[in-house]
Structure formats: C-alpha cells, structure tokens
C-alpha cells in the first residue's frame, strides 16, 4: 500500500520509526524450536521411521507451497517457515507406521487446499494440520489407525492407543509415568507429555503464545472427565492420551485460525474442551482433538466479534 519515498537524501515514512524486532519468520522459528523436543522424543520412542514420516511431510509442504506459488505467479513464501510448521505439526500427528503416499497426499492437502487456495498465510480459516489429519482419517482410515511398535519398550510390540483401551479395546493401560514419558501407542509427536510441556514453556517464555488457550482447553477436558467419571486417575489419562496436549499447545493456539483477544481465546478453548470430551465419549472415533479444533475454527469469526473490546471512551450514537 505505502512505501518509503526518497525525497532527495533522506527517507520519509510514517511513524513509528522503530519496531520490536519480531518477525513472522522469527515466530515460526520459535514454534519449530518448541516442537523439537516432542519430535526427538517421537523418534526415540518409535524409531527412525518416525523421522522419515515427519521429513516427508515437511518436504511435501514446502514443495506444495512453492509449486502453487509458481503456478499462480505469486511471490515465493517458503521463507516465512509457516509451511515447515504445518508439515511438522501434521507429521507429528501421524502414526509412525503411516504410509508414505498418504502422508504426501495429506501434506499437499494441508498446504494447497486448506492454506494456499484460501489466499495463503493469514487468510485460511481452518487449521491446515488439523484439517489434513481429519481428511486423512476419513480417506486413509486403515493406515491412519495402524499403530507403530514402541522401540524402547522391553517387548517391542504394537499396542493399541490408551484411548482405544479406555473405550474398551483389548490391551493394557500404560502407567501414568509411561504416559508422561510417552511410552504408549499413538501419533509420533503426541505421546511424550514431558517434551510437549517443555515446548509449551519455551513458547510462553518467548511470548509467542499466552496461557489462556492451553490451560482452559486442558482444564475443561480434565474437569469434565473428572465430573463424568468421578475418578482423578481416569481424568488424568484423558488429559495425557490422544493428541490433547499437542493440540492444545500447538494447534489451538495457531494465530490465524483462532480468536485474537484473551477472552476470545478462553471461549475458543472452552468450546474445544467440551467438543473433545463429547467426541471421545460419544463419537465413532476414539479421538476428538482435531475435530474439535476444526469445528471451533468455524466459530472464530463469531467469537472475535462477541469478545471484541469496547474502545476506551466510546460513546454510542
């Protein structure tokens, strides 16, 4: 819209003339750093195949965005690292045993269909990784519900996810300590609670995200599960299993697809929490995090309107 003009010798531009130094690329880099502990944990738990899956997703996202920009004659945007974040989050939401082709198709769906077709970074209304995961659950049900063996467990066998066990599947529920460390069936990046919390702490310290969304989201799931089951242990399992932590920390806090005000974030997180518990208990799928985030994305515009601040000194006409 507006650019500097060189009038003679000196630059003339509108104030302010300094900024905080923060950039979109810097924020994305912070998110990538915050995801690394969980990624490393995933590779340790599920083996190098996990790393391959995540790398394939990241590469597909980057290639998809680059090709789309080439085809539509848009400036290249891979440098803002947002495609890397999408690839990482999607990859970490897949089981290590997922097929490589489905992973590629899912990544392209996330970047091209959910992000680029809506206008690129900042314009998409739905979280690309969450949407792609839901898409893959429906399109590639078999490979998506396969479970990878836990490499570092004594009996390296594939076990069903704790959520499936909680819903009545055959199998043994891991101990709470194993749940915290991530020694359980599940997607690559979702199992190790300790690593995810480390990333959460990093994002808080770097002020990339605020406490509101993750605390309210996880809090609602915990309290509601506790109220319905009457057992703290059961509620704790609900919090530590499935993709709740990675979803609450990394997906429900996505700037683009969630409300901007703190009140809005709390309302959004409340909705996510209620839907997650509802889907887990009543839905056909054992897991509801991606679904609930995606559903709440649709309400973001309304929540933004409802939670808008009143301008200081506003006088109604």
């Amino acid at each position: 819209m507006m650019e500097q003009t060189d009038s003679g010798k000196f630059i003339v531009s509108v104030s302010p003339h300094i900024n905080s130094g923060r950039t979109t690329r810097g924020i994305m880099l912070d998110v990538i750093i915050a995801l690394l502990p969980a990624l490393i944990a995933g590779c340790v738990i599920f083996g190098l195949r996990a790393l391959l899956v995540v790398c394939v997703c990241v590469a597909s996202c980057l290639v998809g965005e680059t090709l789309f920009n080439l085809a539509t004659k848009r400036p290249q945007t891979a440098g803002d690292l947002s495609a890397v974040v999408t690839g990482l989050i999607l990859g970490m939401n897949l089981p290590a045993s997922v097929g490589i082709y489905p992973a590629i198709v899912g990544s392209l769906f996330a970047i091209v269909v959910v992000k680029c077709l809506f206008g690129g970074l900042g314009k998409n209304f739905a979280n690309p990784a969450a949407t792609a995961r839901v898409f893959m659950l429906i399109a590639f049900t078999e490979t998506m519900s396969s479970t990878a063996a836990i490499r570092i467990a004594a009996d390296a066998v594939a076990s069903p996810t704790p959520l499936a066990v909680l819903e009545g599947a055959e199998g043994k529920l891991p101990s709470i300590v194993d749940m915290l460390l991530g020694l359980r069936g599940g997607a690559i990046g979702e199992t190790c609670a300790v690593a995810l919390l480390l990333g959460f702490l990093y994002l808080l310290i770097r002020r990339v995200i605020t406490l509101h969304t993750p605390v309210v989201y996880v809090g609602v799931v915990f309290l509601l599960s506790w109220a319905l089951d009457g057992s703290v242990t059961q509620a704790l399992y609900q919090v530590l299993s499935g993709g709740l932590l990675i979803g609450a920390i990394f997906m429900a806090t996505d700037y683009v697809t969630t409300p901007t005000t703190n009140l809005g974030k709390c309302i959004f997180a409340l909705g996510c929490g209620l839907l997650t518990v509802l889907i887990r208990r009543l839905g056909a799928y054992p897991e509801g995090v991606s679904f609930s985030i995606l559903l709440m994305n649709l309400f973001t515009g309304f929540i933004d309107k409802a939670s808008a601040k009143k301008p200081l000194g506003e006088v109604k006409a």
């Binding site: 819209m1 104030s15 302010p16 979109t24 970074l121 200081l312």
Partner: protein, 443 residues
C-alpha cells in the same frame, strides 16, 4: 470508583535509550539565519506583521495570532527580515515563513516586560501573547486550554512529565534544570484553578526528576508527584489522565469535560518563564540524538534554526544519516532535509544511520493479535484494516478509528510490519469523507 478496581490500560515496552538524560542543557550560538513558519500550532496561521528589510530583536512580534485557536510568532534572533516566503512544512502543507538574517548579537527586544497577571483570565491572556503552544508535541494553543468559563469545572490539574518516547530527555532536563519554573508555575496555576489535586505524572525511569519535584513539593499537600511504570504511551493525554485521575475522556470531548486541565511540564515551565520575564517563546530545549549523531546533547535552540545547524553544533554526523526525525521514533515525523526549521513543539531531533533507517518488508497479517492486545485505546486494527480495504465508512465509524491517537504501539509490535498507523491516518480521512457524504444526503 476506587482506583484499584480500574482496568489497567495496555501499552508496549519500548527501548528507553535516554542517552542524554544526564546532559545539562547547553545554549547554541546564534545561527546565521532562522526560518520561522507562521504555522507551528494547531489552528489558523499567524499573520506576518513585519516587512522584508525590517530590523527585529529577540522576542519582537513578527506574526500576530490569526484567530481564537491560533498563536502569535516572535523573532528568535536579532537581525534583519530578509523575506517572507511559503515553505513546505513536514505535514506536507505550505505556509508562509519569516526568514531572518541574524546579526549575531541576540539583542533582546526593548518592549519585553513581565505581563500583569492577577486572575485566571489574565493568565490565559498572557499565555495568548506569549505564543506558547502544547510543547509536548501536539502544538495546541495553550491559551485555549486556560480559557475556562466555570472554574468549578477544573477538578484536577495534571502535569505531563511522563516523556515516554525513546531518546527524548528535554522534559527530564526541564524538570531538573528549570525546577524553579516548574514548581512556581504549578503553584501559580493551581492557585488560579483551585483543583482538588495536582498530579505530576512521571515515568519511573526518571528517578532524579521524581525526587527533585517530590522534595520541592513535600510541604504542598495539593501536589502529588506520581511515579508511573514506563509503559508506552504513558504520556498520551488520555492515558495519563486515566492513570492519574482514573477518568476516561469520552470520544469527541476535551479533558476539561471530565474536570481535567492537563499540560506538558515544558509548556508549564515556559508559561512561568514568560510571566516572570516577559520573554515570549523564542527558544526551545531540544534533545539531539540518534545513531548518526556524533555528540548527542540537550541544546537550547532559537526557534527557526535549521536542523542542519543544530546537528552541526552537535559535532555533525558520525555516519551517513538515512532518516531525520522531529520528535521521538514512535510518533515523530520524518524531516525531508537539513534546512527544515526547529519548531515551537520540536522537543527532539534525531538522525539515524542508513541501517537503522531501513524500512522492514511488509508481510501478510497472521492475526497474532499483538496490535489488538497492546492498543491503549482498545481498538481493533485488523477490523479497521478490513473496513479500510472495503472503503466502508460505516464500519470505520463502528470501530472508532477516530479514537486512534496514532501512538504507534500497534505497528511497533506487529511481526508482519504492517503500516497500521499510516492506514489509520488514511482511514480517518476516509471516515470524514463518508460522514460528510452522509450529511449531504440528509440535507
């Protein structure tokens, strides 16, 4: 309402860079020529009353006030009027300016005499003669603020010493080097206004100023020197009123409508100086700083001195400057060239090297909400941007873009480097056009 229940206003933590805070004001020698614009205030231009070739002395009237909301202009050096010619001001408008060639004497005008001030009306009159305008930066004629019909209205007198802009220390130095004038001025105006309380708001990154004023006012129970957290824009008029008195100035209203008279501390010191000496506003304390300046200083500069001469007095440039500013980096205006004059409301001139002047590349908004969560006026810049792009006047009104004080907190925190302040300036023009067109339709 108890103060503790008030919701704090948000803002941003800007770097302080008050490098010149410990540097006492030094007076620069008379420049060879001054260029004094007839518009250095909000309101009607002053009307020149001198002719080319005429000899003038320091403090002599060279342009008289052009209306109620206007201010007279005085010669800042002694010498000869060379010409009266239109110049381009930093806001892009043209206005006549008086060019005076200095004789180097700085001889004061013989007619200088302290005004007789016994009542508030006398004071407002005296201030009108003095040419003093809001020296914090706004340039609103101060006499208009003091033209109070009903004295009961003025419940609080707030003195703005917040100085929240990075780099600038001229208010700090005024409080330290001219403490007497600040103290006597505050007492004088408080005597006339008879407010419930006098607040002096100072950011707590200026402990010396706070201590100096607290010491002087320790026996005056009317005056409260309030140390405020350094949260930009603490010195914004509405922000400071809220943070000292707890009152909110409604849109379209003036501080007096909520019982507040507010004045910048340098304005106050200059009023008192005028009342005691009779010398009108002809000299300004200016902070000279920035990455390209060789020797940053606080300089007493005759109004109309070219910024190039002031930089020269400060050792010139140590690096090639890329951008020059009137005022601080958050709200200051870019100066197009070195011949631009020091104005009445110039409290700093800054010069940045090429590296610091480079504009950041604008990238798409990622809806991070930083602008929304840091706006002290609780506005919604993304919503305003959308309304602006759709040229939707009704929405611009709904989102109250006219309440934006252009403090720049939003642009400062924006990771996408969106020109939010610039957009709001343009959106305000768009809103005014829309409101006019609606009015026409009704008629």
């Amino acid at each position: 309402m108890a103060k503790s229940f008030l919701k704090a206003l948000t803002g941003v933590h800007v770097p302080h860079r008050k490098n010149t805070a410990l540097m006492e004001a030094v007076r620069m020698p008379a420049p060879a020529e001054v260029v004094i614009p007839t518009v250095m205030h909000i309101g009607a231009p002053a009307k020149p009353v001198v002719k080319p070739g005429q000899k003038v002395k320091v403090g002599e009237l060279i342009a008289e006030s052009g209306g109620f909301i206007s201010a007279p202009v005085h010669a800042s050096v002694s010498g000869t009027v060379k010409k009266i010619e239109d110049i381009v001001l930093s806001n892009g408008r043209m206005a006549p300016a008086v060019f005076i060639e200095s004789d180097g004497e700085m001889a004061p005008f013989e007619g200088i005499a302290p005004p007789k001030v016994d009542t508030l009306a006398d004071l407002a009159d005296a201030v009108r003669q003095s040419g003093i305008v809001g020296l914090g930066g706004a340039g609103f004629p101060t006499s208009v603020k003091l033209a109070i019909k009903d004295i009961e209205q003025a419940e609080y007198f707030v003195i703005n010493g917040a100085e929240c802009e990075p780099y600038i220390t001229s208010d700090t130095r005024t409080m330290l080097d001219y403490t007497d004038y600040v103290v006597r001025g505050a007492r004088r105006i408080a005597d006339y206004l008879k407010p419930k309380a006098v607040y002096i708001g100072i950011e707590n990154n200026k402990p010396k100023s706070i201590l100096a004023l607290r010491e002087r006012f320790k026996d005056d129970r009317r005056v409260i020197v309030k140390a405020l957290p350094p949260m930009y824009p603490q010195g914004g008029e509405k922000v400071l009123i809220y943070n000292t008195t707890g009152r909110i100035v409604p849109e379209g209203k003036l501080p007096l409508d909520v019982g507040v008279v507010i004045m910048n501390v340098t304005t106050l010191a200059n009023i008192e100086m005028y009342i005691e000496t009779g010398m009108p506003l002809v000299e300004k304390l200016v902070t000279v700083d920035g990455s390209a300046v060789a020797e940053p200083k606080n300089v007493l500069v005759p109004i109309g001195t070219k910024v190039g001469d002031v930089f020269e007095f400060c050792g010139g440039f140590k690096e090639e400057p890329g951008k020059l500013l009137y005022g601080g980096p958050m709200m200051g205006t870019a100066v197009p060239d070195l011949d631009a004059p020091i104005l009445k409301n110039t409290n700093a001139i800054l010069a940045f090297n090429r590296h610091d002047s480079e504009l950041q590349k604008e990238t798409p908004c990622i809806r991070c909400g930083n602008c929304v969560n840091h706006c002290p006026m609780r506005l919604n810049p993304p919503a305003i941007a959308k309304a602006f792009n759709f040229k939707d006047g009704e929405k611009l009104y709904k989102y109250r873009v006219n309440l934006c004080m252009e403090c720049g907190a939003c642009s400062f925190v924006c990771p996408a480097h969106q020109p939010i302040v610039q957009r709001h300036k343009l959106a305000k023009l768009m809103l005014r056009e829309w409101q006019n067109s609606v009015k026409e339709e009704k008629e």
